[in-house]
Symmetry: C2
Subunit: 331 residues, 2 copies
C-alpha cells in the first residue's frame, strides 16, 4: 500500500465510525498528507483538509477510506469522490466487508486509470480449525466493556511502553485499522466462523519464552452482534493477561440501546470464564479508560475510584500512558 495517504472521511459525523482514519492519523501521522470529507461530514483528524487534485499535486499516492460504517458497506455517497480520485491517479485502500474489487464500477474505473484497489479486510490466507494446543511465549489481549472503547489504542500504547523498556513485544493487529497501522495481521471479523480461533492461533505463533504478543481485541463479550468474534479471539490467543478497556462516557452498548454496559466485576468474571478454557492462569492486569469526555479533575477522580474499587492499575492511555499497567505484568 503506497504512501503518502489522503484519508477520506465521507459524510461521517461520529468519530467512532472513523476509527481507521483516526488510528492512521495518530499512529502513522508521517504517512498521512491530509484529510478529505464530504460537505456533510464533521470529523476532523487534525490534518489539512485537501481537495483531491491538491493532495495529488503534493504527492499523495493512495486514498484511504478512513470510515467504516455499521455493516461495512461502500456508501453510495462516496462514489463520486472514489471515481474522481481514480481519475486523478490515486490508488484506493479500504477495510470494508464490501470489497472495492467486487464493485463493478469502481474496479472498472480503476483498471481504466491503472490504479490499485487494496481490500485489507479480507484475509488471503487459508486457515485451519484451531488446535487448542498451548504455545510458548507470553500473550496480552485487550478486551472491552463494549466495541470501540480503545482496545486497539491500548494495545499499541502497551507495545510502545514495553519496547521503551527493552521488552521484546509485538503488537498483533486483528482489525483493518491495525493492519493499516502495523502492516501485518488481518481482520478476524472477516474470517469464516469455523476458522476464527484457528486463524488467531496463527497470529501469535510459538515464540521465545520472554517474548510478548500484544493482541488487539475485537468486539465485546457483551455486544449481542459481535461476541462470537470476541470469544474466538480469546480462545485462539490463549492470553496470559487481559486488560479491560472502557469508554467513561458509554452507558449502553453501541448501536443497541437496550443493552446497558455491564458492571466491571461481572464483565471481568465473564471474560475470565471464557479465557480460562485455553489458559487456566489468565488474569486481569489493569483497566484502560477513554476519559476524553471528562475534565482532568473528573478523569483523575474516576480512575482513582476505579483503582480503589477493583484493586487494579487504571489509566487513560492518552492522558496518562500505560506505565502502571506494564508495571503490573511481573516483568
Amino acid at each position: 500500500m503506497q504512501p503518502p495517504y489522503l484519508l477520506f472521511l465521507g459524510a461521517e459525523t461520529h468519530i467512532g465510525n472513523a476509527k481507521t482514519g483516526a488510528g492512521l492519523a495518530h499512529w502513522r501521522s508521517e504517512l498521512c498528507i491530509g484529510q478529505h470529507k464530504l460537505p456533510e461530514g464533521t470529523i476532523d483528524l487534525g490534518l489539512e483538509e485537501l481537495e483531491l487534485a491538491t493532495a495529488v499535486s503534493r504527492g499523495a499516492k493512495t486514498l484511504v477510506i478512513g470510515v467504516a460504517p455499521h455493516g461495512g458497506s461502500i456508501d453510495d455517497s462516496w462514489l463520486p469522490v472514489i471515481f474522481k480520485a481514480l481519475e486523478c491517479g490515486l490508488n484506493i485502500a479500504a477495510g470494508l466487508h464490501e470489497r472495492l474489487n467486487d464493485h463493478p464500477k469502481i474496479s472498472c474505473i480503476a483498471k481504466q486509470y491503472n490504479c490499485q484497489l487494496y481490500d485489507v479486510r479480507q484475509p488471503t490466507e487459508k486457515f485451519s480449525v484451531a488446535s487448542g494446543d498451548k504455545r510458548s511465549g507470553k500473550r496480552l489481549l485487550t478486551v472491552g466493556s463494549d466495541c470501540a472503547v480503545g482496545k486497539k489504542y491500548s494495545a499499541l500504547a502497551i507495545e510502545k511502553e514495553m519496547r521503551a523498556r527493552n521488552i521484546n513485544a509485538d503488537y498483533r493487529a486483528t482489525g483493518q485499522t491495525g493492519v493499516f497501522i502495523s502492516g501485518g495481521g488481518f481482520s478476524i471479523d472477516a474470517v469464516v466462523a469455523d476458522f476464527i480461533s484457528g486463524a488467531v492461533e496463527t497470529l501469535s505463533p510459538d515464540n521465545d519464552d520472554e517474548h510478548w504478543d500484544i493482541v488487539e481485541g475485537q468486539g465485546s463479550l457483551f455486544h449481542p452482534s459481535y461476541a462470537a468474534v470476541t470469544v474466538g479471539l480469546i480462545h485462539g490467543t490463549q492470553p496470559d493477561v487481559l486488560v479491560l478497556c472502557h469508554d467513561a462516557s458509554r452507558t449502553c452498548i453501541q448501536d443497541t440501546p437496550n443493552y446497558p454496559i455491564v458492571e466491571f466485576s461481572e464483565c471481568m468474571d465473564g471474560y475470565l470464564a471464557i479465557a480460562r478454557l485455553t489458559n487456566k492462569n489468565v488474569y486481569f492486569a489493569g483497566i484502560c479508560v477513554n476519559t476524553s469526555m471528562l475534565s482532568d479533575k473528573e478523569a483523575q477522580e474516576y480512575l482513582e475510584n476505579l483503582e480503589s474499587k477493583y484493586q487494579l492499575p487504571c489509566c487513560d492511555p492518552v492522558r496518562n500512558g500505560v506505565s502502571n499497567i506494564v508495571d503490573n505484568l511481573g516483568l
Copy 2:
C-alpha cells in the same frame, strides 16, 4: 437437490465424521437408495452397499458426500469415486467448507457430463449485523457438552414430539446435515464471523406467540476450536429454553484430548451466562444423552442418576424419546 440419494462414506471409520450420511439415512430414509464406501471404510448406515452403476440403474440421481472430516476439505481419496459418479450421470451434493464448484477437475467433469454440483454449506444470502432486538414467538436451542453429541438429533426429535402433540413447531437447521434433512436453514459455521448472530436472527424470525422454533445447536462453548460459532448462535437465537446434549462415552473434547468434558453444573452455568445477554429468562428444560455405548440397564441408571443430581428431565432421545423434556416446557 434431486433424490433418490446414494450416500458416499469414503474411507471413514469414525461414525462421528459421518453425521451427514447417518442423519439422512435416519431422518430421510425414504430418499436414500443405498450407501457406497471405499474398501478401507468401515461405516455402515444400514443401507444396501451399492456400486455406482447399480445405484444409477435403480434410479439414484445424486451422490451425497455423507462424511465431513475435520476442516471440511475434499479428500483426494474420494476423487476417483466422484469422477466415476459424474461419468455415470449422478449429480454430487456436499456440505464441505471446500466447494465442489471450486474444484477445477470436479467442476470440469461435471460440465462435461451435464451434472449438477450442490454445495449446501455456503450460504447464498447476504447477512446483516445482528440487532439484538427481541422477537415474538418461542425458541428452544440444543447446546452441547462437546461437538457431535446429538444436538441435531435431539432438536429433530423434539420437533417430532411437539408436532405429534399438535404444537406449532419448526426445526431450524444450522448445519449441512440439517439442511439436507429439512431443506431449509444454512450452515452457520460458514458465515463470515461478523455476521454470525445476524444470520441466526434471520433463521427464526418473528412468529406467533405460541409458535416454537427448535434450533439445532452447533459446536460447544467448551470446544477451543468452535466456541465462537456456538456463542454467535446463542446470541442470535435468543433462546427461551436450552436443552443440554451429551454423549455418555465422551471423557474429553473431540479431537482435543487435553480438554476434559466440563462438569454439567459448570457447563449449564456457562451456557446460561452467555444466553442471558439476549434473553434474561432463559432456562434449561432437560438433558439429552447418547447412551448407545451403554447397556439398557446401565443407560437407565445413568439417566436416573443425572435426573436426581440436576433435578431435570433426562433421556436418550433414541432409546426413550424426548417426551419428558417436552412435558417440561410448560405447554
